[in-house]
Symmetry: C2
Subunit: 391 residues, 2 copies
């Protein structure tokens, strides 16, 4: 029969990342597209050891259904962890486990948005969450981001022009795709606007644990005296992306609806992932583990930035991330990042993600994203040299 897909799903295209991911199995390609963590930083041996314990001791807990908000001992451990960082307050917040932080976006939007309501996003932003909002019927309004975060005047303008805005989506630390970090002043200003217009913030912080230089900036959630912030953290970049596990701290008032929406999505997150994360959080020295990861990314980012420094400054500029996995490159003279990315794949066997993939309506963009996380230093050099040759 002829199928007609829903209005919400129409207009959602395949992620350009996925398109470039096709080449990731080909060893000839330099895989600068996918935001995968470094296998060196996330050793298989650690996962095997922890999972072996789960397999030997905890499997009874995976036999039956569990509860929607997540495995209680894991929730408690994460509440403690976030409380220390002032991102969870027992009086104010609840914490739930999700099947990855993209699911937090999906469920928050299901809970807060009617079809046609607006979600305000940084532009560029993480296309996965933006598509998730779209698939819930939300209209996407992009607000330009610069090196110290979203442009505050433009954010206020978007809030004024869209009285049906229901959510502000921000990635304040080492943003995807730009690598930019929002300044403390801008975080305060964005929070004040959220309060003024009564629009909650979804603060997505998957990379916050991976600051390898500069000084930490407090999460917006730490300022949340009015219960306006849904704050998501993930195990994807610090343990393993393929297990699909994340958690979010949010105002208690939202608990019932978030809980019910989670039940409507997949009942609860896989107990295998939850049991593994519980052992990771409670049995590992997290500070030491993260220090090791940061060493790896610091070294790789330094290599990438050193190579980028050799490129002709009149032809390209690039962001200088203090953490995370991404660097954002922008061509001068209004060239198209999409054309450049295609030429890189075809002529140089180097995969990057064109900037248009991260814009609210797939507008052309002179930029593209590279990752250094899962590449060897030799690959980083070869990849950036390839970019230089094409310029």
């Amino acid at each position: 029969m002829e199928y007609v897909t829903s209005d919400n799903m129409r207009g959602i295209a395949r992620s350009a990342i996925e398109e470039f991911f096709k080449h990731s199995g080909d060893p000839a390609f330099i895989p600068m597209a996918m935001g995968n963590p470094d296998p060196e930083a996330l050793p298989e041996a650690l996962l095997s050891e922890l999972m072996g314990k789960v397999a030997r001791e905890d499997m009874g807990k995976a036999l039956s259904y569990s509860v929607g908000p997540g495995y209680t001992p894991l929730r408690d451990a994460l509440k403690d962890r976030l409380a220390v960082q002032n991102c969870f307050e027992h009086e104010r917040d609840e914490l739930m486990i999700f099947s990855g932080s993209l699911q937090v976006a999906d469920i928050a939007c299901r809970v807060l948005c009617n079809r046609g309501d607006t979600v305000i996003c940084e532009e560029p932003s993480f296309v996965g969450c933006v598509n998730s909002f779209r698939s819930n019927g939300a209209k996407i309004v992009g607000v330009p981001i610069e090196e110290d975060g979203v442009i505050i005047d433009r954010l206020e303008q978007a809030l004024k022009e869209n009285p049906n805005a229901r959510l502000i989506y921000l990635i304040p630390n080492f943003q995807n795709p730009t690598g930019y970090t929002m300044s403390e002043e801008k975080r305060k200003a964005a929070y004040a606007l959220a309060k003024k217009y009564g629009v909650p913030i979804f603060e997505d912080d998957p990379y916050g644990d991976l600051r390898f230089s500069g000084n930490p900036v407090p999460a917006i959630k730490t300022m949340d005296s009015d219960g306006l912030v849904i704050y998501a953290r993930s195990f994807s970049k610090i343990l393993a992306a393929g297990i699909r596990a994340a958690y979010a701290s949010f105002p208690k008032e939202l608990f019932e609806a978030m809980y019910l929406a989670k039940q409507c999505a997949d009942i609860h997150a896989s107990m295998l992932a939850q049991l593994l994360c519980y052992r990771f959080v409670t049995e590992r020295d997290m500070t030491q583990h993260l220090a090791g990861m940061k060493d790896v990314y610091r070294r790789k980012a330094a290599r990438a930035l050193a190579e980028l420094d050799k490129l002709p400054k009149d032809k390209i500029s690039y962001s200088k991330p203090e953490g995370g996995l991404f660097i954002w490159l922008t061509l001068r003279e209004n060239q198209d990042g999409g054309d450049f990315a295609l030429r890189l794949v075809r002529e140089k066997k180097a995969a990057v993600v064109p900037g248009s993939a991260f814009t609210a309506n797939y507008q052309p963009s002179p930029s593209f994203r590279i990752t250094f996380s899962a590449l060897s230093e030799e690959q980083i050099t070869r990849g950036i040299e390839a970019i230089g040759q094409l310029l």
Copy 2:
């Protein structure tokens, strides 16, 4: 701040099952409410052994993101398995892995329904999927079910009266909550109606592997010459419910949209669950494994039916399932199943689920559901005796 939840989420109440689940930790309670598989039939030892292998050999595959449709070797193995059962045709169908079969319902609805569109469900039906449809904005229209399946005239009437119907949700084998099995004639008739009105069927078959008596009836999917059936199978009842893993075979035309919607939901199912399922499917003798499970359920169902036979026939009637986990009890003289369920909890410490929880609009119902799956035979006897004492 004051939160207003979306129109789609309003009206979704906590599952009555969850309410009665609260007592499941209390050993004094007879837990006839939750549809958990029997831990005896799903031995922890099997899970530990398979998971141990995954932990030792496969964890590298869990480090990074995987692809949306699922782990390819698992998809291939399941395609083969369903092809043998005529529920997958390489020419016609695609197969994807999901985070439980409730997620198939959620994603199918996201792909096919606009807000206000109708999903036709059996009444009573599995409240989890029904809520999932609701949370996508669907209007629920219930069609009464009897011992040999949905009433076909009423199904046609519902299709006629609701030209915006986009999905027919059926559980043909050992239905939840009734335990009823749809006859082959009715399956053919339902398929013919789906074709006549151009409305696809979501055939949910989590219990099909657990027939312990009577003769198998072909799945509706086996009749799908027109590409009208989304057919979902689950690992929840045959391996472990807490791992959240299921799969669905559906017409190729839907693949792109199902794939994109899955990406918007949680990117892909947890690799831990997928790797475990792959070992289960390829390394175990499934026929032998299922035979062992069926022996357990056959014995328990026989005990339950023998105990039910002792109850006064003028006061209560009950279904006689040939498989699955559920028996549906109906009080005579228009008594309310909800009141009875509450009295059972309070006076007899026995938890069942009131029938109203499974109706399209939480209408009062003279029925309630019991499960025999996770109870000992002694608990089954005590539970049904408690029901008899209250009658």
